[in-house]
Symmetry: C2
Subunit: 342 residues, 2 copies
């Protein structure tokens, strides 16, 4: 039986965002601050960095004095590498005894100076994006229990946030649910999961099947999504996750003002209706009853007085509950799920 990746991180954390210029790629750091701010002591930024996690700036030396236990690499750039100029700080933290936590495609063990520093101090090097061995190939055989998968019109568009918010709203409504992490930040938050985009391509759907195993009939797995079916770089991950998750329902995640793919500006975002339709058509292969159960929209860049109108109009057009989870929570989606399935 394949086991999920498990991690147990020691708080408090210092979150490294270095000198990134686009907040989209600080999503690991932002996710941890949003959901576990009580575990975060500060952020480590280099001169001129204008991205901001909303926690105190702190050098490695200051973090040592403040009792920080882990340095988390808080970014997820395209391709998953760390800029060369960051390694001196990572090595300094490891030498000072902080665990180094990395969710990128690189492996900390491949950086000898960091390995040596960690060995000398007793710090741990924790690669969160290491899939377990012996993953199975997906079977597509129907599993018991219910599943809802986050999907998106783009990457970095709120799928993880929406999953956590929906899980929270389900719990508040007295439902039996589990958040299922499929990416590095989700795994850091949940303490377990499986980094679906880091598995060997033949095993994507099989890994997704491991993530949401058989369960009680009234149990809901709330599955973090990855990528987008319409993304020229990452669509394979998204389709394998869709087929392997065999979701009963999916929540479409969107940004109200995004017109082109983030970092792939030569591609328009798909329309919401196309996105819903294609997920239904493709998802029916492993769950004929699949349907969209709500739309989760980041409306933060809309003028405040336009947000409610935007969501109301979208809800009228689609016949689905439409929420900004940061403002409204996901109660409306939970109500819709209860009406459809209970």
């Amino acid at each position: 039986m394949t086991k999920l990746t498990t991690v147990q991180l020691k708080a408090p954390y210092l979150i490294l965002i270095g000198d990134i210029t686009d907040a989209t790629y600080a999503k690991t750091g932002l996710g941890i601050v949003q959901w576990q701010s009580d575990r975060v002591a500060g952020q480590l930024r280099f001169a001129g960095c204008e991205v901001e996690l909303g926690v105190p700036d702190m050098s490695v030396a200051e973090a040592v004095k403040a009792g920080v236990k882990s340095l988390i690499i808080g970014v997820a750039p395209i391709g998953g590498e760390v800029p060369d100029s960051w390694w001196a700080s990572i090595e300094e933290a490891a030498r000072a005894g902080m665990d180094i936590v990395c969710g990128l495609h690189i492996k900390l063990a491949d950086f000898p100076a960091v390995v040596a520093a960690a060995e000398a101090s007793g710090a741990r090097l924790i690669d969160v994006r290491s899939p377990p061995a012996n993953l199975p190939v997906g079977t597509g055989i129907k599993r018991s229990g219910k599943r809802v998968l986050m999907v998106g019109t783009d990457c970095a568009i709120g799928k993880k946030y929406s999953a956590l918010a929906l899980h929270q709203s389900m719990r508040e409504a007295g439902m039996n649910s589990t958040f299922r992490a499929t990416g590095q930040t989700g795994i850091m938050l949940a303490g377990e999961g499986l980094p679906i985009d880091a598995v060997v391509a033949d095993f994507i759907a099989g890994a997704a099947e491991v993530i949401s195993p058989d369960n009680d009939d009234d149990h809901w797995d709330v599955i973090e999504g990855q990528g987008s079916l319409f993304h020229p770089g990452y669509s394979g991950v998204s389709l394998g996750l869709l087929h392997g998750s065999q979701p009963d329902g999916f929540v479409l995640c969107h940004d109200a003002t995004r017109k082109v793919l983030s970092g792939w500006e030569h591609f328009d975002l798909p329309t919401i209706q196309d996105c819903i339709d294609q997920h239904v058509v493709m998802g029916q292969r492993t769950n004929p009853a699949i349907r969209c159960v709500g739309i989760s929209v980041n409306t933060s860049k809309l003028p405040a007085q336009e947000r409610a109108d935007y969501l109301a109009r979208l809800s009228e057009e689609t016949g689905l509950p439409c929420v900004d989870p940061l403002i409204d929570g996901c109660g409306a989606i939970v109500e819709y799920i209860k009406q459809v399935y209970l």
Copy 2:
């Protein structure tokens, strides 16, 4: 610049198919015998094996006497592992100085007895399914030259054979084409390629972009397909390959008598029309002009007198050239491509 995987195998070959019971999984061995029979000395089968490559049976000792230079593991089982009982023969061949060639997900280097035997004799251990390092993420940016991708209603349904046959027909018609291998057998035959199903999931489309780079306007890459968009285990590989290949045309590969997925008998095959339609809809994301340019059908299990009728009826229904490449070649598809694109 990422380089393709290259292999240079020494003939003659002994092909190991052991005791498999389903010819579908001997596709590596069958492919080599079909396309490079002059390089094959024999097959190594265990007692009771009824699968047959159509070449002489040969033990390792007999192969040594016959001057065999390489033992090729000729099977591709689900999940990509070798049965425990086969390793003694592999070790014996390595000890006798034969190169061991493996296209599975396992790595020969992980089997100490084989490594020791090869070191002692000077034999090479060649893992064909090892993707190159530093693969890029797919960009979706339009490349020059033309591309035709094989797709299928199922796995193991003739995609590699169709690509090789179409490439051959294009050459005979005086066109400028290259066969692009995406799987282990194709790489063994072509001497280079990239095992698309063995790359890390985030890099599937990027790997596909490396496989068919910019080229002359009149050049055709004939790209071996993998899996199926409708396969519950492997669809992620297929969609990433589709998006990364940005094909101008695709050839749909099918088996006239197959009703359910091979090895996944709880799934019906998709209909040919659904399969064409979904590839067009999804493929338009990276090539808006994508279209189906032909259907390649394995009719070997139809009664001989029904074959022509079957293909004629299918051609009438779809308006596309329909061939059994083993019987008819792919000339009709080449003619259609010339009409559409030249």
